[in-house]
């Protein structure tokens, strides 16, 4: 009896293990209607992926540096990698995330999402090829991150120049240990953006190179001396890891004070990005191949572009809410704009503003009048957008 009980228990446990074991990743190309996307914008793609899966479309995403994303579209460099090596693709249905393997010869990307203008990655004396479209999407901010326990609260542009340009010789305490200064490499859009912001050439950053933004977070979290550690992150990643890291206020040249991306250290309203006080930001660049008429070659790519630039709402998905939660600012909530990497700012009034809604989502309150239709709105703010009265 005792033996049979033990045998039964063993068989049940083994069966349980077999049921619980994840299936090996299969080829991405075998999935229904695969659409290949790479680069940044992870949270945006994940949410779109879940929505489109219900339409029989599989968004397959490879998270990698912005300049690699640009290369994948401009030069057609295929996406390669496997789940086992941690370099494969990710895809979603409405409830779960999965992994898949790219084909041995790779798969050509349909869409690339870059944090920076393509010309920041490499010289394009004649601009982008005529068959490549660059569409500007939501805005992400970039900054300098330290471990949460660090007492440091701000950094200036000049200080960042010395820290990341000179490393051990920076002279800016406490950031003088290159083993605790974490960088990303030339292929990273975050580093490309901050290179332009600080003036440190992207290929001359000093410090210890991390393999990814997640690796930056890990290195900051595990740094032996939390005061000496500093790295670079996009706002989306910092928010995902805000128990571990914090972003420093940034004081640009000519500024009398340093500003967080948000109105306070604990807010999530991106107020200073939206009004120009925080200067290191740029729109997502959604890159895709165009047909001879100048339109995205695939219908799904065209939809992704439309969702990104805000001319179309994804079915059943509140993209403003998704972006707000991720610390990304839709164009409709911006009050400044720029047309070049870290270029001059100018005031901006979105064609269909969602600023009030964005405030309500991130601050829990807004001074804007609520509405159901435009009839409910005053003359000073006659447009009813997202149930709030806006100027337009």
């Amino acid at each position: 009896m005792r033996l049979r009980h033990s045998l039964s228990f063993f068989l049940a446990a083994a069966a349980g293990l077999l049921l619980a074991a994840p299936a090996e990743a299969g080829p991405c190309s075998a999935l229904p209607n695969p659409v290949y996307i790479n680069g940044g914008g992870g949270i945006f793609i994940e949410n779109l992926g879940r929505v489109l899966s219900s339409q029989g479309i599989t968004l397959i995403y490879k998270r990698q540096g912005s300049c690699l994303a640009v290369d994948s579209i401009v030069n057609g460099t295929p996406l390669v990698g496997t789940e086992a090596a941690g370099t494969g693709g990710m895809y979603w249905d409405t409830s779960s995330e999965y992994a898949c393997d790219f084909d041995v010869d790779g798969n050509v990307a349909d869409v690339g999402i870059s944090d920076v203008f393509p010309s920041t990655c490499s010289s394009l004396p004649n601009g982008l090829p005529q068959d490549v479209g660059d569409y500007l999407g939501p805005v992400e901010a970039y900054g300098f991150a330290v471990p949460r326990p660090s007492a440091q609260e701000s950094i200036s542009r000049e200080a960042a120049y010395f820290v990341f340009g000179f490393g051990a010789e920076s002279g800016v305490e406490p950031w003088t240990d290159p083993t605790a200064i974490f960088t990303r490499g030339e292929g990273s859009g975050t580093q490309q953006m901050l290179a332009v912001a600080t003036g440190v050439p992207v290929d001359r950053w000093k410090g210890t190179q991390a393999s990814s933004s997640a690796d930056i977070v890990s290195k900051l979290a595990n740094a032996p001396d939390k005061e000496k550690a500093i790295g670079i992150l996009a706002s989306e990643v910092a928010i995902e890891n805000d128990l571990t890291v914090k972003l420093l206020a940034y004081q640009d040249t000519g500024q009398t004070c340093g500003y967080y991306m948000d109105s306070t250290p604990t807010a999530r309203d991106k107020a200073n990005v939206r009004d120009g006080h925080y200067t290191v930001w740029g729109p997502f660049h959604v890159l895709t191949k165009l047909d001879q008429d100048g339109y995205p070659r695939s219908a799904v790519a065209a939809d992704i572009v439309s969702y990104a630039i805000g001319t179309k709402d994804p079915p059943g998905l509140d993209l403003v809410q998704v972006l707000a939660a991720a610390g990304i600012v839709p164009e409709c909530a911006m009050r400044v704009t720029r047309t070049a990497e870290m270029g001059p700012l100018s005031s901006f009034q979105p064609p269909r503003s969602c600023g009030c809604y964005f405030d309500a989502l991130t601050q829990g309150t807004t001074s804007c009048a609520p509405c159901t239709t435009s009839i409910d709105c005053p003359a000073s703010a006659p447009a009813c957008n997202y149930n709030h009265c806006e100027v337009q």
């Binding site: 609260e153 701000s154 950094i155 200036s156 000049e158 200080a159 120049y161 010395f162 340009g165 000179f166 010789e169 920076s170 002279g171 800016v172 305490e173 003036g199 440190v200 050439p201 001359r204 206020a249 004081q251 640009d252 040249t253 000519g254 500024q255 009398t256 004070c257 340093g258 500003y259 967080y260 948000d262 109105s263 306070t264 250290p265 107020a271 200073n272 009004d275 120009g276 006080h277 200067t279 400044v336 001059p344 700012l345 100018s346 005031s347």
Partner: protein, 163 residues
């Protein structure tokens, strides 16, 4: 790129030479403005070989001092760019003194107008230039970075090339 070292030098010299006066000035305000104008001219002549003349956030080029926001950021709320040079900031006895007039903002603290929350001068009108956007009045928290922590600027205040 603006030279912050140049700005500090100019402000220090301008302050030191405020004793200049003109018998033709009939108001204390215009006299103070003339003093500042003369101070800027004196510095400009002395540094003409290396630094362009004018007033801005440390840069002396005349056309850069076309925006009052720059003067407000450097000298205090209410300081305006007139004929290429910055006037004195607004002196006040109460908050109403700070909000009166165009492009004046902040609140009255210890006799001069300060930014709403940061306690620093700010630009209160709709910003148009980089300096005005960066220093526009706001209720947002700000954390100043101690510039003394940057210890390896070149003698002229500029940044050395990255190795």
């Amino acid at each position: 790129m603006v030279s912050s070292f140049g700005g500090r030098t100019l402000y220090a010299v301008a302050t030191a030479t405020m004793s200049f006066s003109s018998p033709q000035e009939s108001s204390k305000g215009r006299a103070a403005r003339r003093s500042r104008v003369l101070a800027w001219l004196g510095v400009a002549l002395a540094a003409a070989a290396a630094i362009p003349v004018g007033c801005s956030l440390g840069n002396l080029s005349p056309d850069a001092c076309g925006q009052s926001g720059e003067c407000a950021a450097l000298f205090g709320a209410g300081s305006e760019c007139v004929d290429g040079f910055c006037t004195d900031p607004v002196k006040c006895e109460d908050d109403a003194d700070c909000t009166a007039g165009a492009c004046r903002g902040g609140y009255c603290a210890v006799g001069s107008c300060e930014g709403a929350v940061s306690g620093r001068p700010c630009f209160a009108c709709a910003p148009e230039t980089r300096a005005e956007f960066l220093n526009a009045c706001t209720n947002a928290t700000c954390v100043p970075f101690d510039k003394a922590r940057v210890t390896k600027l070149l003698p002229d205040g500029t940044l050395p090339p990255v190795p």
